[in-house]
């Protein structure tokens, strides 16, 4: 049974359509991340699921029950907010038990639930404090505690980590993921940070302009982005995309970057049968930075000699763990991710190995993935 089903959901404000026919099915126990740039409609979608906003059209089912007309408190959900939305005038204890108080849960039961959650999140020492006396990470925990104590069918997270500093964000990310693994809850998590999406999700829904662009597990989203938007949005640095031309000779399809230039790059593709109809046409070529590496790299699982190109180096960014190189492929800019101890000199040329198995081709008109 799907924990959450969204059917043909749309939302209009006056003359602005912010959600255009969303369909999503989320299974029980899944950790779904809604990711997209700001203004893509992901937070609106979450608010509609929570019952804090109304859909203009479509239905929402939680646990098999249509909840369009059910007020938020009766939807069996819990929510963690970006600003945490801790009640400033209440102590941590009161913040966590407020929902139970509203539902009229017996005092003893409230205490038991509170104790469990406090232990789980290790916030026992904070229970008597006011939110203003807590650090950012502590507030975040309390906000989660307030959600956890409800033991709901569905957890909703609205960019809960965006107010934390980088180090704390990584810690909390792991903690949330661990928590999910431990309690097996169903989570819908909204973020604009694709790393959070990649690291935590069991499935990612990438949203853009009120439409779900792709809804799949993280690997699929990463390796086979459904369109150019997803390709450029996911990954850091993002996928290199460049205009190219698909040609074919007797041995199969060849993609040419900077066709006709003296430094044109010709890459022979294997297993790209779906692209056959594009032969002789322009396409957009996508290649992840990690698929362009120093010349002596051997890509795992590769058979035969690697495909090598020589390209001018424009800029070198060592990050410590790796070196990012900005280079030109057939005149088009591209980023490569090479070993940290290799530092090519800008202004010279160097040779790079390409993992052409993971090249994506997109239709330049529809921007959809071809192969």
């Amino acid at each position: 049974m799907a924990a959450l089903s969204i059917r043909a959901l749309s939302k209009r404000y006056a003359n602005l359509e912010v959600l255009k026919g969303i369909d999503l099915d989320i299974e029980s126990g899944e950790f779904t991340v809604l990711v997209g740039p700001s203004g893509c409609g992901k937070s609106t979608l979450l608010n509609i699921v929570a019952g804090l906003d109304r859909a203009s059209d479509g239905t929402i089912e939680i646990g098999g029950r249509i909840v369009n007309d059910v007020p938020p408190k009766d939807r069996d959900i819990a929510m963690v907010f970006q600003s945490y939305a801790l009640y400033p005038s209440m102590t941590v204890r009161q913040n966590i038990t407020f929902g139970m108080e509203c539902r009229g849960v017996a005092k003893a039961e409230q205490e038991k639930a509170l104790a469990n959650v406090a232990r789980l999140l290790q916030i026992e020492p904070l229970l008597g404090r006011k939110p203003s006396q807590l650090s950012g990470g502590q507030r975040q925990r309390v906000a989660m505690g307030r959600a956890l104590v409800r033991d709901p069918l569905l957890f909703l997270f609205d960019e809960p980590l965006s107010n934390l500093d980088a180090k704390l964000r990584v810690e909390m990310r792991m903690e949330i993921k661990r928590l999910h693994q431990r309690i097996g809850a169903t989570i819908v998590y909204v973020t604009h940070d694709q790393i959070e999406a990649m690291t935590m999700a069991t499935r990612i829904a990438v949203m853009h302009r009120g439409v779900v662009q792709q809804f799949a597990d993280p690997d699929t989203v990463y390796r086979y982005p459904a369109n150019l938007f997803v390709a450029r949005f996911m990954g850091s640095p993002p996928m290199n995309t460049m205009p190219a031309r698909l040609e074919a000779d007797s041995n199969g399809p060849v993609v040419v970057i900077g066709s006709g230039r003296p430094d044109e790059v010709r890459l022979r593709l294997q297993g790209y049968d779906a692209a056959a109809s594009y032969v002789g046409r322009d396409v957009v070529l996508g290649i992840r930075p990690e698929c362009i590496a120093e010349g002596d790299r051997v890509f795992s699982g590769a058979v035969g000699p690697p495909v090598m190109v020589t390209a001018p180096v424009e800029l070198v960014e060592p990050t410590g763990a790796e070196t990012i190189v900005l280079l030109r492929l057939g005149g088009e800019p591209a980023q490569a991710r090479i070993s940290p101890d290799i530092r090519p000199t800008p202004g010279t040329t160097a040779s790079f190995a390409l993992d052409i198995r993971r090249i994506c081709l997109f239709d330049p008109e529809t921007e959809r993935l071809i192969a």
Binding site: L52, P71, P72, M79, F81, A85, S89
Partner: protein
């Protein structure tokens, strides 16, 4: 610019501030001094002067001595009347204004902007214009010559101010707080009572101070809609200050002014700090 070292320019700042403070205090000082001078002494010299014979009797006279026609009880009974009008009207207009401001700012509903706009326009509608309509309204609901009638007037008229300031204050409260509470299952009133009200101290102080001083100092409605022993303290003050058939009693009058202004002055003295804070939160939106 904001250092604390003592320089000629800082000396100048202190000088200017002191001069201003003196000018602002001067009227109060004059009234206090006059409240300690006899009427004769004031008449013989001028309004500004140091008391020659300390006339503390002025205060006894003002508090419980002087006569308004048959009633020779000073301003004491009228102080009580003013309190009976001012305190309930302040509480009602503040609470209703807070609830309405909360509703308008955090729970949008159809027509909210319109009604909010009209209500705040009330700040600008001249008082004199409303006197006769209120007469007719009070007559029709049977509240003329009752303190309840005045409480009603001040409550309804006060809403213009309280709704405006509370609303402006509440729009700064994060909406997520309300959303979280709704998911927790709290309704309109519980959210107001448990979450909004505890955050409202600064703005409630502003509205309470504002309403209290305005209602306490009001005269026109006070004398028109009450009778005899119910009149507010401003009426008793006027009885002292516009003598048609009497020599001016500026000594007693000054003492009465001080006593009558004491509640509002104390409110400003103790609430002034919060007033500034809340005023800003409420006004600049």
């Amino acid at each position: 610019m904001r250092d604390r070292s003592f320089t000629p320019s800082r000396a100048l700042i202190y000088l200017i501030v002191t001069l201003f403070a003196a000018a602002y205090l001067a009227p109060l000082v004059v009234v206090v001094l006059n409240s300690l001078r006899t009427n004769e002494e004031i008449a013989q010299s001028s309004m500004i002067g140091w008391p020659q014979n300390w006339a503390f009797g002025n205060y006894a006279m003002a508090w419980s001595g002087f006569c308004v026609a048959e009633t020779c009880a000073g301003i004491r009974p009228y102080m009580l009347n003013s309190a009976l009008i001012t305190i309930p009207a302040t509480i009602f207009s503040t609470l209703l204004g807070a609830v309405a401001g909360y509703a308008v700012s955090l729970w949008r509903f159809r027509g909210d902007n319109w009604i909010y706009g009209i209500v705040t326009l009330g700040l600008f509608l001249p008082q004199q214009m409303r006197l006769l309509p209120w007469t007719i309204v009070l007559r029709d609901i049977g509240l003329i010559n009752t303190l309840s009638g005045l409480v009603l007037i001040h409550t309804i008229q006060g809403l213009s101010f309280t709704v405006l300031f509370c609303r402006n204050y509440y729009v700064a409260i994060p909406h997520e707080l309300i959303r979280a509470a709704r998911i927790d299952g709290a309704g309109f009133f519980r959210i107001f009572w448990r979450i909004i009200l505890p955050l409202s101290a600064p703005i409630l102080i502003v509205t309470v101070i504002w309403q209290f001083t305005h209602i306490w100092n009001e005269f026109l409605y006070g004398v028109t809609f009450t009778t005899g022993q119910q009149q507010p303290v401003t009426a008793a003050l006027i009885a002292l200050s516009t003598p048609v058939a009497d020599i001016p009693k500026q000594g007693v009058q000054s003492a009465a002014v001080i006593i009558a202004a004491l509640p509002t002055l104390l409110i400003y003295l103790f609430g002034g700090r919060y007033f500034v804070r809340g005023l800003t939160a409420g006004a600049v939106k």
